[in-house]
């Protein structure tokens, strides 16, 4: 059963080599995302060989932000759907990020259309090591993209640090993605800065949650205006973004009589409210 799954997936990869409809890289150093209004706004797509910062709108949107970065990483790997030509993806995480965001789950990357076999995960002890490692990795032109993930705010992630990353990325042409869930935007030399939040998905049959949908706000852009928001969906099979279908009217999943909330939980919340006030 497992063996046949591997054979099937190899055959699918073979087929993807032929009729591939995924986003193609062009020579201009731009990476089209596949979402037409956004690509038009960005004059063609995200710039390769630049630093892009991704923040979560709320600490609880960390899942959406992580997913968005993984999707960008998959796009930056290129390879037109064939797994053999994908460039390796280097993902650096601090130990703190692993504690707060959770342990990396390779099957989840495969579910987004990525190939975990081309991923190298580096767990570093602290933010300084993260920045040093990222700067070294960005000098290596063989990589598709470098993702640096760190949680919270830090004085170490200053203008000098981001300048170093931008320079290294510019020389090699490798795209640098800085994932900062729970962080506050600070002055940096990043080409673009994004804020990501989860968005309701288009439901599947039986009211099941559908394809990953995210709300995206361009907070800052070095080469042009910013401040616009988009809603988009990730198309795993074509490995590109697309415009989100509007979600229909929503109602609670279950209806009928309910059990009351446990008293302890309520009381605890009231207490914290009064303390906060």
């Amino acid at each position: 059963m497992r063996e046949s799954a591997y054979i099937l997936s190899a055959l699918r990869a073979c087929l993807a080599d032929h009729g591939s409809g995924s986003v193609r890289d062009d020579a201009s150093g731009l990476m089209p995302l596949g979402h037409a209004p956004l690509d038009a706004y960005l004059d063609g797509g995200l710039r390769r060989g630049q630093l892009h910062e991704i923040f979560a709108e709320d600490a609880e949107d960390g899942g959406a932000a992580t997913g968005f970065v993984a999707m960008l990483g998959i796009l930056a790997q290129g390879g037109d759907g064939s797994q053999s030509r994908r460039k390796p993806l280097l993902w650096l995480r601090t130990e703190d990020a692993q504690r707060r965001g959770g342990r990396f789950h390779a099957a989840g990357l495969a579910e987004l259309g990525g190939d975990p076999a081309t991923l190298i995960l580096v767990t570093v002890p602290d933010r300084l090591a993260l920045l040093r490692g990222a700067a070294d990795a960005l000098r290596c032109a063989g990589l598709g993209a470098v993702i640096a993930e760190c949680w919270g705010h830090s004085a170490k992630l200053d203008l000098t640090a981001s300048r170093r990353l931008t320079l290294a990325a510019g020389q090699s042409g490798v795209t640098a993605l800085m994932l900062r869930p729970g962080g506050r935007p600070a002055p940096s030399t990043a080409d673009t800065r994004w804020s990501v939040r989860a968005a309701p998905s288009h439901p599947l049959a039986a009211n099941a949650p559908g394809q990953p949908a995210i709300g995206l706000t361009l907070l800052r852009r070095r080469a042009g205006p910013a401040g616009k928001s988009w809603r988009m969906e990730w198309d795993r099979d074509r490995r590109r973004f697309r415009e989100a279908e509007p979600a229909p009217a929503r109602q609670p999943a279950v209806s009928g009589a309910l059990l009351p909330l446990p008293a302890g939980g309520q009381a605890a919340d009231l207490r914290s409210l009064s303390l906060g006030a």
Binding site: A110, A117, I120, A137, G142, L143, P200, P209, A253, S272
Partner: protein
């Protein structure tokens, strides 16, 4: 409590191993006693054996307190067998050890002569010297030894003169084997602990060098020499080991590893620099290094290549070099690649192998086209407990509280049931309780998607199953 070992001063006062501590104290009231620590002794012996690698590659420990060196073919480098033995003994005495040494034609003979012959010398006539040894040199059990002595056989020679059959009949074949080994009639080969690496180059200094920069410059020369040797054999090194022997007998070892075989001196030097930078205590010359050694313990075939002629750099090459550098800096256990694990348990769905180690690329199964992702990219470890309100105890969640905030379930899919892998027996990945998990993919009013599970089947496995949040979807 009994004495395990005594030094020469204590011996002169009439104390010996095996004496009760109370008796010893009665005889010598101000006796200095330390706790017996066999592990530390073994460790020390092991370290000495490793150091003896500078005299001969064939070294083995002879527990609890012996070292066996096979000096065949090495003695002339030190001016003869006896000169070599005296050099080793002098070095050990400098370290504060009491040494008793001898040379023998077999390992067993050397062992017996050193332990029971009581001389720091080479026996003039080895067979005679062995025949004069007490029967204790056979190292039989105490009963057999007593039996031999009661029979009037006091020396090895006396036992050897008896018919072998009679001795075997009374003391067993083991006694005959021990005797034959001691007399050199049966083989007693040495099993050296330390294998000779493929390439090993040493540079000895006439005077200890107290400048670590100079020692590192010497290491550069050694790397260049090693590259020449590797090129001649069409091999590349996967692991390099620099040993800095200090004058006080300590050795500092620096080890670096590469993911692909290499013969690039600049790359090797960069890895050593990276390693030196990560040292918590710097390379301290102490009273000086008296020898710098470079070993290449692991090599692999590497055909010569001419990048200039063959059209530039290999594309994967610099990535491999980057991984080597990062592995050296952060440690090889911090860089991982993933291969699929053959299990349905989510947290064991992949096997993380060090990036330096993995060679084979495994194909990951592709997800079903048209379906949404059913696994999140990151999993909470451990899963975070949540308070769930459900319509029926074994139904989907209606609303839940995570991080003190109430969330309405708008859409859900499930359950996806993941049961224990009972065939693993006591090594079940779900632990001893083996509770079945029912996973739900749910979406709340804000559009956030969660992966939650009920821990245990309601009614059958648990009366009040707990709920956990295992991950967040994009």
């Amino acid at each position: 409590m009994r004495l395990m070992a005594v030094n020469s001063v204590a011996k002169a006062l009439g104390l010996d191993a095996g004496l009760a501590l109370a008796d010893a104290r009665a005889r010598v009231p101000d006796l200095a006693v330390h706790d017996h620590d066999p592990a530390a002794d073994a460790n020390w012996l092991d370290r000495l054996a490793r150091q003896c690698g500078r005299y001969t590659p064939m070294v083995t420990t002879d527990p609890p307190d012996g070292l066996l060196l096979d000096v065949t073919g090495c003695a002339h480098l030190f001016g003869g067998e006896e000169a070599l033995a005296k050099t080793v003994a002098a070095w050990l005495e400098e370290l504060g050890t009491a040494v008793r040494w001898t040379l023998g034609s077999t390992a067993q003979a050397a062992h017996a002569l050193a332990r029971y012959g009581m001389r720091n010398d080479r026996a003039m006539d080895e067979p005679v010297a062995i025949r004069r040894l007490p029967v204790a040199a056979l190292e039989l059990d105490s009963e057999s030894e007593l039996g031999l002595r009661r029979a009037g056989l006091k020396t090895i020679g006396a036992v050897a003169d008896r018919p072998r059959g009679a001795i075997a009949a009374r003391f067993g074949a083991g006694a005959i084997l021990a005797l034959e080994r001691l007399l050199g009639e049966a083989e007693s080969p040495l099993d050296p602990d330390y294998r000779q690496p493929a390439v090993r180059i040493a540079r000895r200094f006439a005077e200890p060098v107290a400048n670590s920069d100079y020692a590192l410059a010497v290491l550069d020369d050694l790397v260049a020499e090693a590259i020449v040797q590797l090129t001649q054999r069409d091999r590349g090194g996967r692991r390099f080991e620099a040993l800095f022997h200090r004058a006080d007998g300590r050795t500092r070892a620096l080890r670096v590893e590469t993911g692909l075989p290499t013969r690039d001196p600049a790359a090797i030097r960069r890895l050593f620099d990276e390693r030196i930078e990560t040292l918590t205590d710097p390379l301290d010359p102490g009273f000086g290094f008296d020898c710098v050694e470079l070993a290449v313990p692991v090599t692999e075939p590497l055909a010569p290549s001419q990048p200039g002629l063959e059209g530039g750099h290999e594309p994967g090459d610099d990535v491999a070099e980057l991984l080597d550098r990062l592995s050296t800096r952060f440690g090889r256990d911090r860089l991982h690649r993933f291969i699929p694990g053959d299990t349905h348990i989510p947290e064991q769905g992949h096997i993380a192998v060090p990036a330096l180690q993995s060679a084979a690329v495994m194909q990951w199964p592709m997800p079903e086209p048209g379906e949404p992702p059913v696994r999140p990219v990151q999993l909470f470890d451990p899963p975070e407990p949540i308070d769930v309100i459900a319509e029926v105890p074994d139904g989907p969640p209606y609303r839940f509280r995570w991080r003190r905030k109430l969330r309405e379930v708008m859409r859900y899919e499930g359950p996806e049931r993941i049961a224990s892998e009972w065939w693993h027996g006591s090594r079940d990945p779900l632990g001893r309780t083996r509770l079945t998990r029912d996973y739900y993919r749910i979406e709340d009013a804000a559009g956030r998607r969660y992966w939650v599970f009920r821990h245990g089947l309601f009614g059958r496995e648990k009366s009040d199953p707990r709920w956990y949040l295992h991950g967040l979807f994009a």
